[in-house]
C-alpha cells in the first residue's frame, strides 16, 4: 500500500523557440501512492496539464522534457522510445480528458472505440473485446450496455460521454489513471455523479489517480493529497485534511479565501491581488512575491526551495525556512 505507483523527480518541461524559452514545468517532484487520489491544483497556465502530458510523453512540439525522471513500474518513462511508450499509454496509464465532446470520434460507434483500445493492448479478438466492453459499460453505470455499444457519441449527453471515456481509460486495468479536469465541462449534478464513479472505480480496482483540477471543492471531497502548483512549480504538498485545516503557503491561503464556503464567510471575499503571471514573464525570486500578502525582502531576490514540514507535507516559502 505504501509504495508509490509513480515517482516523479525533478521534472522540467520547457518550450524553446528562437526568441525565448517558456519553462512550463520546473523541477516538479512527487509520488503518487498506490490506491490513492493525488489532487493537482492550480490556476490556468500553472503547468498542471503540462505535468500530466509530460508523464504521458505527449508534450506538444516545440515542448520538451528537459530534465527529471518519471519512474513508473520500474521504468523511466522519460527514457522510453516512442514504441515502448505506446504500450504504456492507454494500457498501464489511462487518461480522461476535459472535453468529452471532442475526445471521441464522432463517426465510430462507441463500442468499437472501447474495443479498439482493448484489442490493441491486450491482443485479443473482436468478440472477446466486445464482451469486455459491454462489461465496462455496465461498470461505468449504463443500464443498457448492449444498446450503448452500438450507439454513436452524438446520441449521448456530456456526462454519458465522459462515462465512455472513463470506460476506455480503465479498459486495460491501468495502474494509474490521469484525469485532467474531467468535469469542468459538465453540470454540477453530472459532475457529482462522475466524481462518485471515479472514486468508486479507484477503490474497486485499487488504481492510483492523478486528478487535475482548479476546483478546491472537488479536491476536498475526492482527493487524498493536495498539491498546489503555481508558475510551473510545486508550492505546497499536503494530505487533504491538513490542507483544509491549515494551509501553509500564502498562495494556498489566498486560494482558500477566494473560494466560497471555505474562507469566505463574511459578505466579502479576500481576493488575491494581481493576476496569474504568464509563463513567459514570470518574476525573479519567489514566483508569487508580487501578489503575496506576507512578502519579505528576501522573496524578491531568491527563490525558496521545497521544505519538508512533517509527514507528507512540504511547502516552498521563506516563511517556513
Amino acid at each position: 500500500m505504501n509504495e508509490p505507483a509513480i515517482r516523479v523527480t525533478g521534472l522540467s518541461t520547457s518550450f524553446k523557440t528562437d526568441s525565448y524559452i517558456v519553462r512550463a514545468v520546473e523541477g516538479v517532484s512527487f509520488d503518487i501512492m498506490k490506491g490513492r487520489i493525488f489532487g493537482l491544483v492550480g490556476e490556468s497556465g500553472c503547468g498542471k496539464t503540462m505535468t500530466s502530458l509530460s508523464i504521458m510523453r505527449l508534450v506538444p512540439s516545440p515542448g520538451k522534457i528537459t530534465d527529471g525522471q518519471i519512474i513508473f513500474e520500474d521504468k523511466d518513462l522519460v527514457q522510453l522510445s516512442g514504441t515502448e511508450m505506446e504500450s504504456v499509454r492507454g494500457n498501464r496509464i489511462g487518461m480522461v480528458f476535459q472535453e468529452p465532446m471532442t475526445a471521441l470520434n464522432p463517426v465510430i460507434r462507441i463500442g468499437e472505440q472501447i474495443s479498439e483500445t482493448i484489442m490493441i493492448h491486450k491482443h485479443i479478438q473482436m468478440n472477446e473485446a466486445k464482451e469486455r466492453s459491454i462489461d465496462l459499460l455496465k461498470q461505468v453505470g449504463f443500464d443498457e450496455p448492449e444498446k450503448r455499444y452500438t450507439q454513436y457519441p452524438h446520441q449521448l449527453s456530456g456526462g454519458q460521454r465522459q462515462r465512455i471515456l472513463i470506460a476506455i481509460a480503465i479498459s486495460c486495468n491501468p495502474s494509474l489513471i490521469i484525469a485532467d479536469e474531467p468535469t469542468t465541462a459538465l453540470d454540477v449534478a453530472t459532475e457529482s455523479q462522475i466524481l462518485f464513479l471515479l472514486k468508486e472505480l479507484v477503490r474497486r480496482f485499487n488504481t492510483s489517480m492523478l486528478f487535475i483540477t482548479h476546483n478546491l471543492h472537488i479536491v476536498k471531497k475526492l482527493c487524498d493529497t493536495v498539491n498546489i502548483m503555481y508558475a510551473g512549480r510545486m508550492f505546497e504538498q499536503s494530505p487533504v485534511e491538513d490542507f483544509f485545516k491549515e494551509p501553509l503557503h500564502p498562495y494556498s491561503k489566498g486560494l482558500l479565501n477566494s473560494v466560497f464556503g471555505f474562507g469566505a464567510t463574511e459578505k466579502r471575499l479576500t481576493a488575491i491581488p494581481g493576476f496569474v503571471p504568464k509563463l513567459s514573464e514570470i518574476p525573479e525570486g519567489c514566483k508569487f512575491h508580487p501578489r503575496c500578502a506576507s512578502v519579505m525582502p528576501i522573496c524578491k531576490e531568491k527563490e525558496p526551495s521545497m521544505r519538508e514540514m512533517g509527514e507528507g507535507k512540504s511547502v516552498r516559502c521563506f516563511l517556513y525556512e
Partner: protein, 318 residues
Amino acid sequence: MSEILSVSDLKRTYEVRKSAFSYAKETVKAVDGVSFKVDKGKTLGVVGESGSGKSTLARCVMFLERPDSGDIVFQGNTLNDINGQDLKKLRREMQIIFQDPYSSLNPRMKIYETLAEPVLFHNVVQKEHVMEKVEEILETIGLSTDFLNKYPHEMSGGQRQRVAIGRALTTNPALVVADEPVSSLDVSIQAQIINLFMDIKEKAGITMLFISHDLNVVRFLSDEIIVMYKGRVVEAGNGDEVFYNPLHPYTKMLIDSVKGGFAKRAGDDGQTEGGCPYYPRCERHQDVCAGRAPELTGGSNNNGGHVAACFLAFGAVS
C-alpha cells in the same frame, strides 16, 4: 421599495430539427412561463444547469430576443409595445455583461475606444468630457490609465472582464444583467471580480440580474434567488432562505453538490408530457408528479415569499 423590472409569464420557444438528417422540427421550450420582480438596488440571482433557460431569459429581459409571449415591464415601460426609438433610449438604462471576455470585446478597438463608444453613442456626457468619464470608469473597475491604449489581446481574462463590466457601467444604467460573468475566470480572479460587483452594487445602487450555474457565487451576491429547471422556475425566494432551507428536491441536489456531497446516479432527464419536469430525475417522486405539473406555491401561509413548484414541498402529498 420600488420595482424596477417585472417579468410575467415569459415564454420563448425555439424550433430545432429533430436530427441532423431530418426536416421534421420539434419545439424546445427554452423559457416556459417565467415570472419575477426585481426591486431597485437589489440583486436577483438566477441559478440553473446548462439548458435550463438562464441565458435565454437574460436575452429576453434585454430584449435582444423577442419573447413569444409574456410581458417585460422595465421602469414602467412595457418593452413589448415600445418602438425602436424609445427602445434605444431605454437601452441606455439596461446593460448586459457576457460570460466570455475573450469574445465580447472588439479585438481591433483599444480600451479607450471600447469604453468611449457607448458614452458617445448615448450622449452620456458632452464630447469634451468623454476622457474624464472614461478615466472615472477605469477607476471604478480598478484599472490604471495605462490600459487606455492597450488592445484586448494584451490583457488577461480578469482584466478583460473588468473592461466588459466598465463598458456596461459607462451609461450609468439602472439595470445590469450579468450572464455567467465569472465562469471563465481563474479562482483567484473570480474573487476579485465578485468583489468588484459588490462594490458597484453598494456604490452605484445598481439593480442586477446575476446569472450563474454556481450556487455559491449566486448566494454571495444575491438578495433573492430563483432556481430554474428546463425553462421553468422551480423555486424562488430570499437568498439565504433558499440556500439554507431549500424546498425543491432539485435545489437540494444543487446545494448538496456544491457543499461537497456526491450525487448518486440520477435518472435520465427524459422528456415529460404534462408532469413535473423534474419528475424523471427526482428521488422523491410520487404518482401525482407524473400526472400534472406543480405550480409555484408558498403553501397555505405563503411562507414569506419563499415558493417552490413541488407537490411535496409543503407536505401536501406525504
